[in-house]
């Protein structure tokens, strides 16, 4: 079970926040489904019809930072290496942390804990 925090500014989920402070919000549904190996977190959000305002605006083409997610150490360490193009877009993400990745590049596979 990978724990993923969707990180977007503004009100999302049960947390109130102004756009000035970092807001990390838990997604409404706890998704505990298995998904096709190789699908990304963005694919999962889309397939499961989870409505997150503005998530994945560029549809997974590394042209925005709206699918920004924050992982715990364990999850982060299990992911493959990050390429320059993803880092470039992450640089623009709201509330960037050391455990941040773009959800469209987070590949979920059965091997992941």
């Amino acid at each position: 079970m990978m724990c993923v925090w969707v990180a977007l500014p503004g009100n999302f989920g049960p947390f109130e926040a102004s756009t000035k402070c970092i807001c990390t919000a838990n997604i409404h549904h706890k998704i505990t489904t298995s998904c096709a190996k190789g699908n990304s977190f963005l694919d999962l959000v889309v397939d499961q019809n989870v409505y997150i305002d503005g998530f994945g605006a560029c549809e997974g083409t590394l042209a925005c930072s709206t699918c920004h997610v924050i992982l715990d150490q364990k999850g982060y360490d299990q992911l493959g290496p990050i390429i320059d193009e993803e880092s470039d877009m992450l640089d623009l993400a709201f509330g960037l942390t050391d455990m941040s990745r773009l959800g469209c590049q987070v590949c979920l596979s059965r091997d992941l804990e």
Binding site: D53, G54, S65
Partner: protein
Amino acid sequence: GFYTAQHLVKVSDVSVDIYERLPVPFGLVRFGVAPDHPEVKNVINTFTQTAQHARCSFHGNVRVGKDVTVEELQEAYHAVVLSYGAEGNRTMGVPGEDLAGVYSAKDFVGWYNGLPRNSELRPDLSCETAVILGQGNVALDVARILLSPVDILKKTDITQHALDALAESSVRRVLIVGRRGPLQVACTIKELREMVNLPGTRPEMEASEFEGIAETLKSLARPRKRLTELLLKAAIETPGEEELERRNRAERAWGFRFLRKPLEVLPSTDLIRAAGIRLAVNRLEGDGEGVRAVATGEVEDVECGLVISSIGYKSLLIDPAVPFDARKAIIPNTMGRVQQTAGLYCSGWVKRGPTGVIATTMNDSFDTARTLLQDIGKGTLDVSTVKPGSQGVSTLLEKRGVKPVSFSDWEKIDSEETRRGEIKGKPREKMLDVGEMLKKRI
């Protein structure tokens, strides 16, 4: 506009009508985003879903402020949101700005992106050197379009006339000039990386302009640090063998020039066109966020035949009834509520100023939508009376001889543009003439 509508429609049971001056929707996504950035335009898919939602409708070819006033809209609707962006530009305010060969980036971008009012621009690309003032992403887009191999551009939705002009272009060298230093460039790393990797081009910069920069790296926040590292690599690092060979083969060059401010565009001998630009040399004072450029008194002339000022877009007043801060060129507001005017809101560039990527403007639009919904919830926005909505507005428009374009009409235009593009291996060939677009109506 579309993002504000999206939030309202998905998160509440509010109905939204979108009024747009042109027959075609999507604003900057169609006319601002560079042709070689098609992935950014994917947002059109979610905009389309919004427009097709039962509680949303699109009305193109309606000029707010001319065909219908903001006051008339406020009579017809419980709330009006102004998201009309920034259609003007900051001017350099220097002599020679009106010479042939001098353009605002706004017009140049409008020209290659098919904005009807820029279709006759016909920029002269017969010179060797182009100087761009400004170092933001728009400046880099312009540089990249000027220097990209035509084989790459011809597969994009760039307009045919721009493609033809660029195929004949003599421009071989583009200087991207800024008032301040390397640590103040406003562009982002993706766009810089695209320049560094642009086929057939090599970077050409003065090492002296980067003195002391490497030493600052360790104190920089990650985004600025990565950007500066890449800039240093392109500007002063000795390239490896392969890269050296690639640069030697490159026929086109680009480079940043820092600490330079335009004083005058110098005319040709016949006084008709630009032949050069006179730049004041600056030095920096202060540090961190407070860094300022100060004139040294020195001056430098650069020979060039094309000058493009990319120093900022600017919002304009749409209707005298709408409060407008002429100094900041935005609508005065508090969290999207227009000051001193109940029932009037704003979002996007006209609310915060003309900067930011899609994510910034998107989140800002959601903020305005939330503010509006909060006001309904609190009762400060009165929705108890029945309002005529688009029925009220159509009556006015009909009387004035204005025929709105529906979203289905746009879909016909869209199909036709796509069909014309397919023939040429392009995603679309945009219509440039409003009259032609209007003929496509059902």
